[in-house]
């Protein structure tokens, strides 16, 4: 990991067939290479051992509550946007053992547990880089550091990819997080398909990125390559499926009793999908388990959500009992209070909460509806 760019970004152009060389170099260096691939009709993030496992020639159609993959006109590797999963599941896994303990004659002995594979993430989008930076603030830069996250993050190598098209629920431009990656990556890929020639512009964003780049065979990048890459990014920026209204933070803060919250509650299932697919949502719960004989115990941290009853359980009972309260908690935290807490918005504009909501509630539409009442 190196969040600072080197002064002069080294850049080369490799043929699409050489993408596999990148995977091989990373694997040779001991990285678990995690990349998009397909499973059950969706893009998923899994470990790959070859570029052949990447979803070549697929695009996604994303609408509120609906996601479909289809064949692309141009056989590109990264013209889909993303699936429900994000890199969060690797840096901040859904279930993580924190420690185990066993009984001894004197009492009990605790053993800490950290599972930190060395990951290389291939195909990280600009919105997802922004999400990782937000989770860094939460887990590493605050007063209380998550050791597991910190270790996994420190070891992770990021190969970003610039989006050439936007999905139907994307709105990164209005959150100022994309579609082009700015920094925070080790290597960045821009896919180029020109006159039947399929190539990648590969830019180094860190010292480790430079080292890897030097081990790959390609031609030096020319001005025309950068221009083509920029043109593709501009096209993506102009095709955003959604837009977050300006001043969302203030709009929500000023309308905490708006009737729209009750209206949302009628549609909301409180299923928590939006929070679990959100690449910045970081809430978790801890639970202890014991073996049947009472000799061993374990403490686990698991994802939690502000949409569950137990989430707001305190002495005397749960304080957020109805759907309106839970949705408002999520949305105002994400778009308003996050600024107070972390100095940035909690939303990166990836649109996952819209696509993967089973009933298709659209966070941008809800802000717009509330903003109508000035």
């Amino acid at each position: 990991m190196n969040t600072k760019n080197t002064q002069q970004n080294a850049a080369i152009v490799i043929g699409a067939a050489q993408l596999d060389d990148l995977v091989k170099v990373l694997r040779k260096d001991g990285y678990a290479t995690i990349a998009p691939t397909t499973r059950d009709g969706s893009i998923v993030l899994e470990e790959i051992s070859s570029a052949a496992q990447l979803p070549l020639g697929l695009v996604d159609d994303q609408q509120p509550g609906a996601y479909r993959l289809s064949k692309a006109k141009k056989p590109a590797y990264f013209d889909f946007t993303h699936g429900a999963q994000s890199w969060k599941q690797f840096l901040f896994p859904a279930k993580e053992k924190l420690w185990s303990a066993h009984k001894t004659a004197e009492g009990f002995q605790v053993e800490a547990s950290i599972d930190a594979p060395k990951y290389a993430f291939i195909g990280v989008r600009a919105c997802e880089l922004a999400a990782i930076r937000i989770q860094d603030k939460v887990f590493v830069e605050g007063e209380h550091v998550s050791n597991g996250y910190a270790q996994r993050r420190k070891q992770a190598l990021i190969v970003a990819v610039n989006c050439r098209r936007a999905g139907g629920t994307c709105f990164c431009t209005s959150m100022d997080t994309g579609p082009k990656v700015k920094d925070g990556y080790d290597l960045a890929l821009s896919e180029l398909t020109r006159k039947g020639v399929h190539e990648f512009l590969l830019e180094a964003g860190s010292a480790s990125g430079q080292t890897i780049l030097k081990r790959l065979t390609g031609r030096p990048a020319a001005a025309a390559d950068f221009k083509a890459a920029q043109k593709a990014s501009d096209k993506a920026a102009q095709s955003m499926g959604r837009e977050m209204p300006k001043g969302a933070a203030k709009t929500l803060a000023n309308h905490l009793q708006h009737p729209r919250w009750q209206d949302i509650a009628k549609r909301c299932l409180d299923c928590a999908n939006c929070t679990l697919v959100c690449p910045t949502c970081f809430c978790s719960t801890t639970s202890d388990s014991t073996s049947l004989d009472g000799q061993n115990a374990e403490r686990w941290r698991t994802w939690d959500s502000c949409f569950t009853l137990d989430f707001s359980y305190i002495h005397g009972g749960a304080i957020r009992r109805d759907g309106a309260e839970r949705y408002r908690q999520w949305m105002t935290h994400k778009l308003t209070h996050w600024h107070d807490q972390f100095g940035v918005s909690g939303c990166v504009g990836c649109g996952r909460c819209i696509t993967w909501c089973p009933v298709g509630i659209d966070i941008t539409a809800e802000v717009r509806a509330i903003a109508k009442d000035k």
């Binding site: 609906a66 679990l276 073996s291 049947l292 994802w303 009853l309």
Partner: protein
């Protein structure tokens, strides 16, 4: 001197025995369970009976006869901790379909001699009759949850049995949403988790075997199922299975009758 083991009893009411079988199905852990408790009354495992009172009673099945209505009080009186296991015991089970129809009509259609059949007009959960300390959902119950409840009860801590949606389990296990990615009907968003994500793994929507989750917005889901192409009967049928009589599911199914 070794401590006396707590006495465990397993009781059956109107049910298929599948949830009791989940205890026997623990295989690898069954000997560990037997080391911690005395199987004092468990007819599916042993004909030997040890008299009560019992430290832990697991109750399977619903109340469908006058005899059962009486017997559950006897079980409660003899049990320090009473845990109901499975959809029959916690919601009336599949046999609660009769709650939505005329039982006499069923009886005369099914039996050659209806006069021998004595049954209540409704199948009801154990908690409708006696105080229950803990309800373990599922049709059948999940073995991991059963062991967790037994382990927690033995050491006197609160068991980790989440009451959140099935969707959370799908997302945490990396399962692709069959409703969003394929447009399949699924009860996951209104169903309590716990089965181990069985149906979505096999490319099928959730059937709601674990019953309604807390705050189960069935009407919002039913509206969406309509948009996905389910007609009224299909929607009613979907809510009317193993947990048909659980209140949110029952109310929703009646709306689409």
């Amino acid at each position: 001197m070794a401590h006396k083991k707590p006495k465990l009893a397993v009781w059956k009411f109107s049910s298929c025995d599948g949830c009791q079988l989940s205890l026997l199905g623990c295989e690898d852990e069954l000997l560990d369970v037997a080391e911690q408790v005395e199987f004092a009354y468990f007819l599916e495992a042993t004909r030997a009976k040890v008299s009560g009172p019992y430290d832990i009673s697991l109750v399977e099945g619903s109340i469908t006869t006058a005899e059962e209505e009486e017997r559950i009080h006897q079980v409660r009186k003899q049990s320090k901790v009473l845990i109901t296991i499975g959809a029959c015991a916690t919601a009336g089970g599949i046999q609660a379909l009769k709650n939505f129809a005329d039982v006499d009509e069923f009886i005369s259609a099914v039996y050659a001699h209806p006069e021998y059949i004595k049954t209540l007009s409704k199948s009801t959960a154990i908690a409708d009759h006696v105080p229950v300390d803990l309800e373990l959902r599922g049709c059948p119950i999940n073995k991991v949850q059963l062991l967790e409840v037994l382990g927690a009860t033995l050491v006197g801590r609160k068991p980790n049995v989440p009451n959140h949606s099935q969707c959370m389990e799908c997302k945490m296990s990396g399962q692709v949403c069959v409703m969003v990615a394929k447009g399949q009907a699924c009860l996951g968003p209104v169903t309590q988790a716990g089965c181990g994500t069985i149906c979505p793994t096999f490319d099928r929507g959730c059937y709601g075997c674990f019953g309604p989750k807390e705050l189960s917005n069935t009407s919002a889901l039913a509206a969406r199922l309509g948009e996905l192409g389910l007609d009224s009967k299909q929607r009613s049928d979907l809510f009317r299975t193993f947990n048909a009589a659980a209140e949110p599911f029952a109310k929703e199914s009646v709306k689409h009758d």
